[in-house]
Symmetry: C2
Subunit: 256 residues, 2 copies
């Protein structure tokens, strides 16, 4: 192994056993030295959660053969933090990759996504970071059509310049043929219309399952939703400054 | 009870038994009709997590006397979703309040905060929303000095106009005397420098506790950290569009 190969840290939120992370490792393993730190069980929808009320377990994993890999009982963000501060220490990654997620993380889903939160945590640490998602929730989804564009995005990101403190939110349309290329987008305004299924357990006590439908409220041609619906791979550069600068004067007027 | 009293939904992340949420209810209960839906156990650091791999329990609670209250086994964001779509249904809240958090949610802590994520979920639902935090992690913290400014912010927010799809991140300095007033700010650039304590369980297996130190990297006078350090209450208007618009040209150059 050449000493100057870039170090690439890979995580996800579906768990280290997921097909998506195995595909991602397979697509990029010749582009750098790979270290995988991923959750030991599914962590979809964990957002930017960290584990502070429980301890965390971390074990060497053989689930991804030929690669230095660890499974972690914590969240995707815990994985990146443990990788950075405990496993890698002085070995700074050139890139944090997360995914490939089984299911879309476009539009507002970025907020709920453990996959994207791992990438954003990388960006917070000052590391160029990319989350990949395929708009297909199937556990056995076929990621092969993502290979060339994943490799292109990773290679170009390694070459840089990559914008500071930024994570790319990359979504692939489900359609396996005729990818039209890459489009750089803004996050569409959309919402989840939740429904809660109310069931009764065998003792007659209520419990609930969260479900919901996605509604796109934003028909701008520059959005990730528009790109995906037209067969493009959407790339949204994301930051973690939540300040709504444009609202500052209005809030000053209201409160001061 | 007057029929036209505004409906105020209150949640938090420390749990329904926390002193902070009892204080918040106490401070604002005459300003509207209060409904509390809060986690049944501590959910600090849960970020924007939602519960999709487990079911959720929801029970009426008597922990906040004289108020319609529910405890929920899920995350703070689950609480807001269940309140909106199952408990309140057609009764649209005029305001979502979250907190008062035991500990700071200024700067990048907003990303990890369950308290702020509940408020941001409210904003995503188009409801004016406010997260309150006190820079004191003590379970028995004294919130009394926050009373007048909490009431002022809530009253003014009910009167509006409140910026669309925005959540206010309000942090109170720990100092109990001499609050200098309110300052509308931007989120400071800062980072958590993590450390993991590696311990061995009685069977000799490793486990880890996350800890860390906060480092402010941003000495701008317009930041929340600056306001707090000078004795002001900081208010950052937050949105949920993570798009880094300024990075779009750079990413286009890199990838297209």
């Amino acid at each position: 192994m050449k000493k100057d190969r870039p170090l690439i840290l890979i995580s996800n939120d579906d768990g280290i056993f997921a097909k998506g992370i195995a595909s991602l490792v397979d697509f990029v393993r010749d582009l750098g030295e790979i270290v995988v730190v991923a959750p030991s069980f599914p962590q979809s929808g964990m957002g930017h959660a960290i584990t502070i009320h429980e301890h965390i377990r971390l074990d060497k994993s053989t689930l991804i053969p030929g690669v230095e890999a660890y499974e972690c009982s914590g969240t995707p963000v815990d994985c990146v933090k443990l990788a950075k501060h405990f496993i890698l220490k002085d070995r700074k990654p050139a890139l944090v990759l997360s995914g490939i997620n089984h299911g879309s993380n476009s539009s507002v889903s970025v907020i709920y996504s453990g996959t994207m939160s791992a990438a954003i945590e990388g960006a917070m640490e000052g590391i160029p970071s990319i989350g990949f998602s395929l708009c297909d929730y199937d556990h056995n989804a076929d990621f092969e059509h993502c290979r060339e564009i994943v490799r292109k995005i990773v290679s170009r990101s390694l070459d840089g310049p990559f914008p500071d403190h930024t994570a790319l939110n990359v979504n692939f349309p489900m359609a396996k043929t005729g990818l039209k290329g890459i489009r750089i987008c803004r996050q569409a305004r959309a919402r989840w219309q939740e429904e809660f299924e109310n069931r009764k357990d065998p003792r007659g006590r209520d419990y609930f399952w969260l479900s919901g439908n996605f509604t796109n409220l934003d028909h701008g041609s520059d959005t990730d939703e528009a790109a995906l619906s037209e067969g493009f791979v959407s790339v949204v550069p994301c930051h973690f400054d939540l300040t709504s600068y444009q609202s500052i004067p209005e809030v000053e007027k209201m409160l001061l």
